[in-house]
Every structure is written in structure tokens, then in C-alpha cells.
Symmetry: C2
Subunit: 178 residues, 2 copies
DNA sequence: GTCTATAAAATGATAGAC
DNA sequence: GTCTATCATTTTATAGAC
């Protein structure tokens, strides 16, 4: 699953072959099919791995007492991954983009689920901050992150992440506490 | 080229076969290869088609005398395409995400070029508005668009585009003229 | 230039020995 | 549970008639 998440992030779901994942996981190709009946199940596994990473992160941030500091910690984590983002973009966002092109199979919905997880956590922080429209603010913050990840990636320029990240931090600081 | 742009937007570059494009263009598969030696050349063609559309749009907007109105017209155009964005995302952005996963072939750079085209035009408008850091503002505006397109698409919810678009319009209106 | 038929390659998936 | 060998399918790309 870890290999799947890593390779799918780097190469994209469609370009990734079972052989690619098997090589990174250091097992023969046939063996993969003992645990995952289809390639799509591997993609779901990659998605779950990202969800798990997100829960680990928000769990750590929840230790902080101030919701504003939690949000700033989230943004700082994103900024710390600027180089990875410049090369391969946000793992969840880029995978969602790819899966959203599909019909029929419910994989497109799966990708949305991880993003909803992030949105819900961010919304909770804004709510605790006493903001009047926490859902809209969450949309703006997560949207800004996905947008700056995409531009960082498309322009191959990590400094985009720094500049936009700094703007978001200042934005949070400028908010009135309730 | 029009068929390529359309199908690649809907299905993504990797999932799109030459046969898919040929069917939409209503020509036999073999004929496609008379004009495009490889599949990648078709992807480049789709990209050029998007660049052409962008130039048509900015050309129309340049007729407006006020740069602020030009930017608002751009955002309004994006909002008008909310339903397409909810189903398939931003044509240029989603294609860029996919091509950025590649190595070696220079196709990843090609995708960045179209986005740079948009960034440059937006930056020019902010410059004419007398804003001190037009490049940063352009990054913020285009980033916001890419982010809200991705969320609109991942959540399959056109209203995301409305809410975030309205926020951007208000943001533009709140800017001091120079 | 247009089209049909087909070659060539890549890759998802399985069978069966161990 | 692990691994090798292989099948079956899809898809890129080409050959050659018209």
C-alpha cells in the first residue's frame, strides 16, 4: 500500500503499472494479485494511505490548544513539502483530478471522500475560532492550497508555495477572534 | 484537434485512446496518423486548442477599457462554466496535472506554458490597475481559480464555483485604484 | 488524402508449481 | 503465501489498397 501510494503519486494512476508498484514493493508481480484482485483496488489502497496520513497529521495538530495555531500548523506542513509539491503536486488533489475523469466505477467518489475529510477538519477549526461561515472559509483555505499546489507543480517552482503559504498565514492572523 | 481537446478534457490524456478521438472526429483511426505521428502529438494539439481558446477569451476581454472589469469578466466566464467544471474540472489545469507526472518528454513543460499565458495576462491587468505586486496577485487569482475548479470537480458541486467566484469578485472590488 | 487490415507492444490478469 | 510463466486484451502504430 505504501509503494502504491508513492508510485501513484509520482506517475499518476493511469501511467502506473502493477509491475511498477511490485518493483518498488520488492515483490514479484503475481504476488500483488494475491492481495489486490484488480488494479483499481490498488488505487483505492493508495487513497486510503493518503487518508491515513491526513488523519495522523490532524491528530498531531489537534494536540495544539488554539485552533488558529492548528490551521497555521497545517499550512506550515504544506509549505514544508514544497519540493515534493513542485515535482508531483498534492498527492490527494492530483489523484482526485485523475479519478474524476472516470465514469461508472465509484472511484471518483472515493477521491472526493479524502478531500471532504480535510474540509471537515478545517471547517471545525474555523468554527472553534467563532467564525460565522466556517464552511465557506474551509472551502477558501483548502481551495487555495489545491490551487497553489497545482501552480507550484505546473511552474516547477517551490517558491510559489512559500509566497502563497505566507499569504494564507497572514490571512489567518488578520482574523478577529470571537 | 477540437475532438482531441474535448475528449482529453473529459477522459484525461492517459485514458483517451486514438480510437476515442477518431470516433468523435468521425474519421477512421488510421487517418489520424496521417496528421499526427504519435499520440503525444495529439495531446499537444489539445493543449494548443486550449491556448487558442484562452487567447480568444482574453482578446474579447481586452476590448473592455477598465482592467478591473476585464478581470471580473474572466471570473464571470469561469463561473459560467461551473457545470462543465463540476464534471471535468478546468481543461488546462487537469491536463497540466496529468502531464506533470511525466519524465523525459517535454510535455510537462508544454502544459505549464498555457498556464503561464494566463498568469501573464492577469498580471498585466493588475499592473494596469496600479497594484504594487501584480505577479503575486496573479498567482493568487489563478491559484484560487485552479483550486476552486478542483474542489468543484472533486465534490461534484457547481455551487462551489459560485461561492468562491463571488468572493473573488468582491475581492477585486475591494481593491484601491491607483 | 482516406480508409481497412494488421502488426507490435504494453499491460491487466490468471494458472499452477512450490 | 510466494513466485514463474503465460494468456488475453487493449492500444499504439504501420502497411498498403483505393
Amino acid at each position: 500500500m505504501r509503494a502504491a501510494a508513492e508510485v501513484v503519486h509520482r506517475q499518476g494512476a493511469e501511467r502506473t503499472t502493477i509491475a511498477d508498484i511490485a518493483r518498488v514493493a520488492d515483490v514479484p508481480v503475481g504476488n500483488v494479485y494475491y492481495y489486490f484482485k484488480t488494479k483499481d483496488e490498488l488505487v483505492v489502497a493508495a487513497l486510503c494511505e493518503h487518508a491515513r496520513q491526513l488523519e495522523l497529521l490532524t491528530g498531531r495538530l489537534d494536540q495544539l490548544s488554539d485552533p488558529r495555531e492548528r490551521l497555521k500548523g497545517l499550512i506550515q506542513t504544506w509549505m514544508d513539502q514544497r519540493d515534493l509539491a513542485a515535482r508531483y503536486g498534492c498527492p490527494t488533489g492530483t489523484l482526485a483530478v485523475e479519478l474524476d475523469k472516470r465514469d461508472k466505477d465509484g472511484l471518483d467518489v472515493e477521491a472526493g471522500r479524502v478531500i471532504r475529510l480535510l474540509l471537515a477538519w478545517v471547517e471545525r477549526q474555523f468554527h472553534e475560532l467563532g467564525q460565522p461561515e466556517p464552511d465557506s472559509l474551509a472551502l477558501t483555505l483548502v481551495g487555495a492550497y489545491q490551487g497553489m499546489s497545482l501552480l507550484t507543480n505546473a511552474l516547477r517552482d517551490p517558491s510559489v508555495m512559500d509566497r502563497e503559504g505566507a499569504r494564507l498565514l497572514a490571512w489567518l492572523d488578520s482574523m478577529e477572534a470571537a
